[in-house]
Structure formats: C-alpha cells, structure tokens
C-alpha cells in the first residue's frame, strides 16, 4: 500500500482523537473548577471530598484509572446490583476528564490563592459575601493566570487520549495499530501518526494561546 492510502483510515482515527480531547478537556475543566474551589471551601466535608478526589486521581496512574473504570467498575456494580458497564467512549472520556481535572483543580486552587490578600481586604471592606468575592473578585483575576497551565494540561490530555485505544476505542493510536497489524509497514505508519499527533498538539497550543489572549483582557487594559 502506498503511504497516502493510510491517510483516510488514520484521519478517521484522528477525528475520534479530536472528539475525545474536546469532551474530556471540557469535563476536566468543569471538574477543575468544582474541586479547585471546593478545596478552598469553609465546609470541611466539601474540602475533604475535594482533597480526596485530587489526591486519588493525581496519585494513581491514568492507565490504572482507565482500566479500573472499564474492567473493574462493572464488577463493583454487579456486587451492588447495578449495571455499570460503560461503553468505551464513556469510560475513555470519564477517565481522561477525571484525571486531567485533578491536575486542573490544583491549578485553579493555586491561581485563586495567588490573588493578593489586599484584594480580599478591599472586598471585605465593601462587604461582599464570600461567594460574591469568589465570582466577582477572585476568579476574574485568577482565570488569566490559570491559562498557561491549562494550555499545558490540554496538550497533555491530547496525548493521553492515545491510551483510550487500549480499551478498543477507534482513535488515531488504535487505527495505527490496526493498520500495522494488517500491513506490517510499521515505520511509515508510525511516522505519519507521530506527525499527526504533533500537528494536532501545535494547533491545540495555538488555540489555547488565542484563548489565553482573550481572557487576558479581563486583567484590565495595559497602560
């Protein structure tokens, strides 16, 4: 097979990779804010749940989490009489999102804590509630600071989607392995695939830069 015949099946796989990345990054971003803010809560129960989530998903391996959700969760569900068999795409998005969300939560927490104490003093003096302070004072100043780290995490997430091929999701890495099995043309296929991942990462990085620049405006106009 000439090399360009590989492109069609690989492009199909790349499309799945893109979708996996988008959905799991969105899920991860949501979890980042929920648990990153949760870790700073006054309520000890919310704080405990947030810390447990962050430590468990940062402290274990993504592949272990993925396999656990795909292979072990159905058995755990069985034991309590629930059908928890997840379709591969759900297990994949869930594992990727939960994993990246735990790292993102630390980014969110750090950025909120980095807002200078004098801003909180001003908020207190103006009698804002804690919730108003979070939404109107902390987050608008913290989000621009989170963006570079979020950009790195998004690229990390794109790379991590390759692991979903191991639970037979038809992403780019999966298609590559299928083609290689079929043609044995390892060098050509894997070179193309690496370049495709590289290209996607560069595009994603550029997109995150645009996003970063657009939220940067929240910091107030530069003099």
């Amino acid at each position: 097979m000439p090399w360009f015949d590989y492109l069609k099946p690989l492009a199909d796989g790349a499309w799945i990779t893109v979708q996996l990345t988008v959905f799991s990054t969105i899920l991860g971003a949501l979890l980042s804010f929920i648990f990153g803010i949760g870790k700073l809560s006054d309520n000890w129960a919310i704080r405990a749940v947030s810390i447990a989530y962050i430590e468990i998903f940062r402290g274990t391996s993504l592949l272990v989490q993925l396999f656990w959700l795909y292979f072990a969760l159905p058995i755990a569900g069985d034991a309590i009489g629930l059908d928890l068999r997840l379709p591969p795409v759900v297990a994949g998005v869930a594992a990727l999102g939960l994993n990246i969300g735990a790292y993102g939560a630390e980014v969110v927490r750090g950025a909120i804590q980095a807002v200078t104490p004098s801003q909180y003093e001003a908020a207190t003096a103006l009698n804002f509630t804690r919730r108003q302070t979070l939404w109107k004072i902390s987050l608008p100043q913290a989000i621009p600071e989170m963006m570079p780290s979020f950009g790195n995490l998004a690229v990390q997430n794109l790379k991590d989607t390759a692991l979903a091929s191991l639970i037979s999701l038809g992403d780019l890495a999966f298609r590559a392995e299928q083609l290689r099995n079929y043609t044995q043309d390892s060098t050509t296929i894997y070179t193309i695939v690496l370049l495709m991942y590289f290209g996607m990462a560069l595009v994603l990085t550029a997109m995150m830069r645009v996003l970063e620049a657009s939220v940067g405006r929240w910091r107030g106009a530069r003099s």
Binding site: I56, V64, F67, A173, S186, Y190, Y197
Partner: protein
C-alpha cells in the same frame, strides 16, 4: 498462577487479595526499576538537549528545539510502539524493558531539558558577570558558580517528573513489560475478577507516589541552600 505463585479464588475477596499481593509486589519491583531506568535516561538525554539548545549556532539549536518539542507533544504510547516495531524493522532487537525505559527517557528528556535551562537561567546574570570579572574560566564558572546554584533549584522539578514517570510506567505493559498493572491485567484476565487486582494497584500506586513525593521533599530539604539567593 504467575511467577510461580498461585492465587486463592475460593475463599472470598480478602483471601484472593492476600494471595495476589506478593505477585503485585513483584510487579511493583519492575515498576520501580523502569521508573529509575527511564529517569536516568531522561536526565542524560535532557542534559544533552539543554546544552545543544543553548549552543549559539542556530543550525544546532533550532533542530534541537523542534526535536524536543516533537518528543514532548507526541503520546508516550505511540513513541513506545514506534521504538518497539520500527527498531525491530531495522534489526535492532531490544528487550521489552529496555524499549520501555528508552521511550520513557525520550518522552521526559524534553521536559528535563526545559528544567535544566530554567535552572541555569535562574542563576542571576550578575553571578556570571562577577565570575567573568574575577577572570574565572568558562568551565570553572559553570562547575563552581552556576551548577552549585542551579542544582538545588531544579531538584523539586526533577522530583516531580520522577513521580510522573512512575505513573506512566503502566503504559509499558502494552509491550509485555510485566510491571504492576500488566500483572494485574493478567490476573484479571485469568480469574475474571478485575475489581480486586485493579483496585489494589490503585492503592499501591497511591502509596508509591506518596512515598516518592516525601522522598523528593526530603532530598530537597537536605540540599545545601545556605547563602544562595532563594526567594
């Protein structure tokens, strides 16, 4: 049965867990070995890249920047497959463990190079100028002025990557390295009980990363910092 150890599937989950623990611990040893091997390769490769990046010749520094960016932006799994199959095509046959360690090393060398560069650049420019004013040779400046100040700065970052590498080792199971997750998969495949071994791997991983992080903090605290301008 694995590594000559049999498991007990007929006396409940606890007995099963206890019977497979020694097998998982065998896998853990491989996990730790792969972590250390991958980390060592990444440290050396990373240093080479850091030096090449800082060469003032664009013909050297630019390709290095592109290559490290490429290593950093492509998935470990795909890099691993590439090494595993493509090297074999050229009759370079490496054991699975060596291939895996090499893939880890390649992936993380790009991150390491960045850590070294940041560490060296963080040493104040004034220090270099002071060394020049004292007429120290370039090599002596590097070994006596820059390195002693840069090393304590990079240790925490390197330590974080050590822990990251440890969490990436399970990927090596796809090329038949029998690290902890691979071992757990085999037990699951044979007993149809994935819940117990996979949950145990999760728990053991938590312990390993906690211990490794504590170790990194310990080493960091032991490094001499006196007289260094830390923030």
């Amino acid at each position: 049965m694995l590594f000559g150890i049999t498991w007990d599937t007929s006396n409940g989950d606890l007995a099963f867990a206890l019977s497979i623990l020694p097998i998982l611990l065998r896998g853990m040893v491989v996990t730790i070995q792969a972590t250390i091997a991958g980390f060592a390769i990444a440290m050396v490769l990373g240093l080479i890249f850091a030096v090449l990046k800082s060469v003032p010749l664009k013909i050297v520094s630019w390709p290095t920047i592109v290559i490290t960016e490429f290593f950093r932006d492509t998935p470990l799994l795909v890099q691993l497959f590439f090494l595993y199959y493509v090297l074999a095509d050229y009759n370079i046959i490496l054991p699975a463990f060596a291939t895996g360690a090499l893939a880890l090393g390649v992936q993380y060398s790009a991150y390491m190079a960045e850590v070294y560069r940041a560490g060296i650049e963080a040493v104040a420019k004034g220090q270099r100028e002071a060394a020049k004013a004292l007429d120290l040779s370039a090599s002596r400046t590097f070994t006596h002025i820059i390195l002693p100040q840069a090393v304590p700065r990079v240790v925490p970052a390197l330590g974080n990557y050590l822990v990251s590498i440890m969490k990436d080792v399970p990927v090596l199971s796809v090329v038949t390295v029998l690290e902890m997750l691979g071992v757990a998969r085999i037990i699951g495949d044979q007993t149809f009980n994935y819940l117990v071994p996979l949950s145990m791997v999760g728990g053991l991983y938590l312990i390993m990363t906690l211990v490794a992080s504590a170790l990194v903090r310990f080493v960091d605290a032991k490094l001499p910092k006196r007289g260094l301008p830390f923030k």
